[in-house]
């Protein structure tokens, strides 16, 4: 029966199936007490990384532009939503509604940032585009890390200098404390919500790929000039793709922020390294392959944690993975070699031989 359904849809079903199966497996392990504390702590970060990887794959694989500032959008989503949560956490809003609103706000703010940043960035191409996204990522992190926002009875106070220049009243309360960030965010995120958001992310990205808009975006990736000549609005579609990718990264940021009690805009959390780590997931999983990104994100996050000896070598492994994958997949010599001696060629040859006999 499965064969009758369109190949693409079947492919997507397999992806959803894998995620749901993984979720059920984790639930069973958890209820039978077979999940170590270490792994339990990793569950939400795993969903964060999966969402990040899928959303970056949308920019790198579908739009065909390298973004090195993905952590910046995650940072915007994290701080935007944590700010909202900090504003309303003393009110009587139920936790579920509060978190749902936080997710929407995080996605919206990150999406708007994606759009605003996309306007100058997407005029550039290739290396320049990559370096400018890196620049924007660093700017976002630095500016948020220098922001002081406080609240007292007379309203909100804002400063880029220090906490003193906020001039708050005696009942003042810091909300964003510069490099110290936002503290005491309620831990609203859990694995279930994370998995649901992963499924929604996959749904958005795969449906986008199969839509008219998605095909337009892919045609820009394959040949910009040809796409333009058949009347595709390059700027519009590029911005659309970039903003969607940014909004999804923002959602990952919301999950991230609501899984920690202290959120700081430090390079450790939202710096260049984070962007590269997500890029490694995308490259290892296969550029443009959504399922691959998910699997790569999970494997590369779990592997160094499970093999404790590897933890020190984690970034080194990422670096080697990046280089080796690129050389194997893109070097003309490697492609030639694979075509001559690869498994697929081998099987095809054997089939031809059998047919002959």
């Amino acid at each position: 029966m499965l064969k009758k359904i369109n190949l693409q849809v079947r492919n997507n079903m397999i992806t959803y199936g894998i995620v749901i199966l993984a979720f059920i497996l984790v639930q069973i392990l958890q209820s039978t007490g077979n999940l170590s504390r270490l792994l339990q702590g990793l569950l939400v970060p795993l969903t964060v990384y999966v969402i990040l990887a899928v959303s970056l794959n949308f920019t790198v694989g579908i739009l065909g532009e390298l973004s090195l500032g993905h952590a910046g959008f995650m940072c915007v989503g994290a701080f935007g939503s944590a700010f909202f949560t900090a504003m309303v956490k003393h009110g009587d809003m139920p936790a579920g509604l509060r978190f749902a609103l936080a997710i929407a706000i995080g996605a919206l703010i990150a999406g708007v940032f994606g759009l605003l940043i996309g306007i100058p960035v997407l005029r550039l191409r290739g290396d320049y585009l990559a370096i400018v996204t890196l620049a924007f990522g660093e700017i976002i992190m630095n500016v948020i890390g220098a922001m002081f926002v406080g609240r007292d009875s007379s309203g909100l106070h804002f400063s880029l200098r220090d906490a003193h220049s906020l001039n708050m009243g005696a009942d003042g309360e810091m909300i964003i404390n510069g490099p110290l960030g936002i503290i005491d965010t309620p831990r609203d995120a859990n694995f279930m919500v994370g998995v649901i958001l992963v499924l929604i992310t996959i749904f958005i990205v795969t449906n986008m790929m199969n839509s008219r808009d998605g095909r337009a975006i892919m045609s820009i990736r394959d040949n910009r000039i040809a796409a333009e000549s058949i009347g595709i609005n390059i700027t519009k579609y590029k911005l659309l793709a970039f903003a969607i990718s940014a909004a999804l990264a923002g959602v990952a940021g919301v999950l991230y922020a609501h899984n920690l009690t202290t959120l700081t805009a430090a390079p450790r959390n939202f710096g260049f390294n984070m962007s590269i780590m997500v890029l490694v997931f995308v490259v290892l999983g296969g550029i443009g392959n959504i399922r691959g990104s998910i699997i790569a994100a999970v494997v590369l996050t779990l592997l160094p944690e499970l093999l404790r000896g590897l933890a020190d070598f984690r970034m080194l492994i990422y670096a080697i993975v990046l280089i080796v994958m690129m050389l194997l997949n893109w070097a003309p010599k490697a492609i030639e070699w694979r075509e001559r001696y690869g498994l697929k060629t081998f099987l095809a040859k054997r089939k031809a031989k059998e047919a002959k006999e």
């Binding site: 290396d127 990422y318 050389l327």
Partner: protein
């Protein structure tokens, strides 16, 4: 006013280091048409080689600097041979960029495993008395940095204009295929470019580590990226552009740190890059290239 002048001299000093690093970027970008992301980390390797040869092997400073330059030249050629050359004709231009990011990470993390994350004190490689002009004190290292930078610029310009290898570089940057037809060994020319760029990076590493006398595995990353900003600012592919961009960027960074906020200085430097790329993508001294269909 005196403060302002001393900030400007500090800026020129920092900018001269950026300019030397930017040269490596600009030459490699001009000739191999790739952004060598690992260039900044070659600086760090140069710093460590000079540090270790000076402190552990007891080399005199000039020998330690030469050791660093030789080491980095070999490293640069090796990186080009192993990681970049196989991808030169890859279908996607992103392939070699991502590989370069991988190499950058590899260098950082190998250094992290070998030397640890703690900052190491860097000895004074060069001793030069401070110069007082009126109320303004110019440190010895500032003078050495600026003079080194100017000498490198002059020598490099002469090398490219007068020597046969330099002419070959120009030809390769203009048109790889045509250069090959004229009997120029493109692979060798690109390797030579990497060698020069990496040797200069080692020198920049020594100057950088002397000016801020510590060294960590991440020392090179940020100056590397900023030097690329400087190269783009001045116009990528142009040697005077690298000097101009580097010095301007150094001054902007120091003034921003002094008068606006040290937290936001990096953000301002990157803001400059974005403004330049959006307003004048070819940089201050860059050539305009028409895209052909």
């Amino acid at each position: 006013m005196m403060n302002f002048l001393s900030f400007v001299t500090n800026g020129i000093s920092l900018g001269s280091i950026y300019a030397i690093i930017a040269l490596g970027y600009t030459m490699v970008y001009g000739i191999a048409k790739m952004l060598n992301f690992a260039h900044g980390d070659v600086i760090m390797v140069g710093g460590y080689i000079s540090l270790l040869t000076a402190t552990m092997a007891g080399f005199p400073p000039w020998l330690a600097i030469i050791a660093a330059m030789v080491g980095c030249t070999v490293l640069g050629i090796t990186i080009e041979r192993v990681a970049y050359r196989p991808l030169r004709n890859a279908a996607s231009p992103l392939a070699v960029l991502i590989t370069a990011i991988g190499v950058s990470f590899l260098l950082q993390n190998v250094a992290l495993l070998l030397f640890g994350a703690n900052a190491r004190a860097y000895p004074a490689m060069v001793n030069m008395p401070n110069v007082r002009m009126g109320g303004l004190t110019i440190t010895g290292i500032t003078i050495i940095t600026v003079v080194t930078c100017i000498i490198i610029m002059v020598v490099l310009t002469l090398f490219i204009k007068k020597s046969k290898s330099g002419q070959a570089m120009l030809a390769v940057s203009e048109d790889k295929g045509a250069a090959q037809l004229m009997g120029i060994n493109v692979n060798k020319t690109i390797a030579l470019t990497f060698a020069i760029g990496s040797g200069l990076a080692a020198l920049a590493g020594v100057l950088l580590a002397t000016a801020y006398p510590t060294l960590t595995p991440y020392t090179g990353a940020m100056p590397g990226i900023k030097a690329f900003v400087a190269a783009v600012f001045g116009g990528i592919g142009s040697i005077p552009g690298a000097l101009l961009g580097g010095v301007l960027l150094g001054i902007i960074e120091i003034l921003a740190t002094a008068y606006i906020s040290s937290q936001l200085a990096d953000a301002i430097v990157f803001g400059v890059l974005i403004v330049v790329l959006v307003v004048k993508p070819t940089g201050l001294l860059g050539k305009k290239i028409q895209e052909k269909v």
